[in-house]
Amino acid sequence: MRVVLAEDLFLLRDGMIRLLEAYGFQIAAAVGDGPALVEALVTERPDVAVVDVRMPPTFTDEGLKAVLEARQVVPGLPVLVLSQYVEQLYARELLADGAGAIGYLLKDRVFDSDSFVDAVRRVAAGGTVMDPEVIAKLLARGARKEPLGELTDREREVLALMAEGRSNAAIAERLVVTERAIAKHTSNIFMKLGLPESGDDNRRVLAVLAFLKA
């Protein structure tokens, strides 16, 4: 699997390259600033990109802007965004095109290399992986707007895990119920959120988006 890596700090970039290569990824390009990232994404068309938000030249949300720009040229290009802090505002912007294949994680999630690499793979496969901290804030806020208010507590729990990018099997294991029960919950969620019949992956993305926007 070919990866474009964007990280301006040499130490971290080096560590990430080693980590990803150890798990069998091939580094197509490793860049250190916004414009170079856009260029690399558009020319290399990697299977997935791992991108740091804060980079030169502005040291603000350079990486985020580069990703949004590149995804206008290459719609649905899978990107996992890493940051020292996560913001719902940025999560929404990343998911706004509804194309999915977006991950948004705190940088320290890299410490747990197995689940980090798992997240990279899920994003590459078109899934959506939101950081538990984003989800926790969403849950803390509670459902205050339709149609999320119609969900039961259990369904919200399932939706939260779905937003973290977990499969039905993983959710079932986490909540200690059968996978069939989870499948029932997810179809209820899709129905209550009024999501049209389409591929399961796509509906999961839309459900997460609805969750973030509530």
Partner: protein, 431 residues
Amino acid sequence: MTNTKKRLSAVAEGGFWFFVMLLPMLVGYVALTLSVSLVASIGLGLLLIPPTAAYLRWLADLRRSRVRQWRGIDIPRPYRAAPEFGAGFAGYWRRIRFHGTDPAFWRDGAWVLLDPVVGTLLAAVPIGLVLNGLYGLVISVMWSVFTQHGFNDWYLFVHVHRGNEGLRWAPTALGVLEAAFGVAIAPAMLNAHARWSRVLLAPTPAQIRARLKHLTETRADALDTQAAELRRIERDLHDGAQARLVAMGMHLNAASQLLEKDPEAAQKLLMEARDSSARALTELRDLVRGIHPPVLADRGLVDAVRALALDSPLDIAVHAEVVGRLDAPLESAAYFAVSEALTNVAKHARATQVWIDMRMAGGLLKITVTDNGIGGADQARGTGLHGIERRLATFDGILALSSPRGGPTIVTMELPCASSSPKTSSSSATG
């Protein structure tokens, strides 16, 4: 050479004030006397106050900026920051009251009444001397033409008439002396003109004293707040991230010693070290948010407040009409003021809905935070509101509270943005 140039340009400045600006000044004179006399007789003059004030302000600002550029004399603006007046007759009435009660308006008025005499005298004397000197030259050159047509007059003390040809070149000599004198005194006269302008156009000593008192107080407040912030940061680092790193180091050390004897225990310690580092990161992250939120740095005030609204347990609608970025310290002050206001709402108001409105109008950043809670908030008692007020005061900002029992509570904050800080005025002075 440059000295001569300076003197000549001072003469030209005098010409500008006399030939170009005297008429507009007289228009201001008429507008002012008209509105004042109509107030005295039938009250209609009140309606003339806002346009007159605007016109006088334009004249005064023009004088201030020219004087700063030409004479290097800084005349600060004494005007109060204008609030939002609103539309309709009520808004117009507020406008009249605002200007009518602003001492600076009346001082502008006094200036426009006196300056056509005092200011004109100071500005026009050098150019008058130069022009009269040139006139002497003309008399000498055209002597025969003049005198043949019955010209019979005095140029200074030279009697110009037929039969006095012996003194034909005396006017030239006198004129040159006179013009030279005019040029020589021009800088001093124009400086006097600038200082005269400052008498009525600059803030009064009382205003300056009040300002000084305000600045001293807010500076002390700002320093206190800053010192307290630094102490808090130091404590947070000491008890948080630093302690975690120490624990991490100990875990790693212990793990390296156990590596051979008891790999399983070593593994456990390594995991603990990893968790310590993750917790240290979380704590640092929270600390950074409290110092300068990343979204504020990335995107500015509006998006930072939007992010704040998203993270809040309250249902918050944000409406913003603020284009571009503001000064970083101002953004930060406004952000933390809004944040503090929201904390207050969450703590005391029992509200379900909050509306935040941010807009720029007339050089003011105006933010209102409205909630549908129980009301009854008291500015005198609430430490939260007092804290916001002190935060804003450093930037000459103000806070107003409306919170009847039963709600709604409206907190209005205003911060001047088109700052008259030396930073901006000096850049225009070099032009």
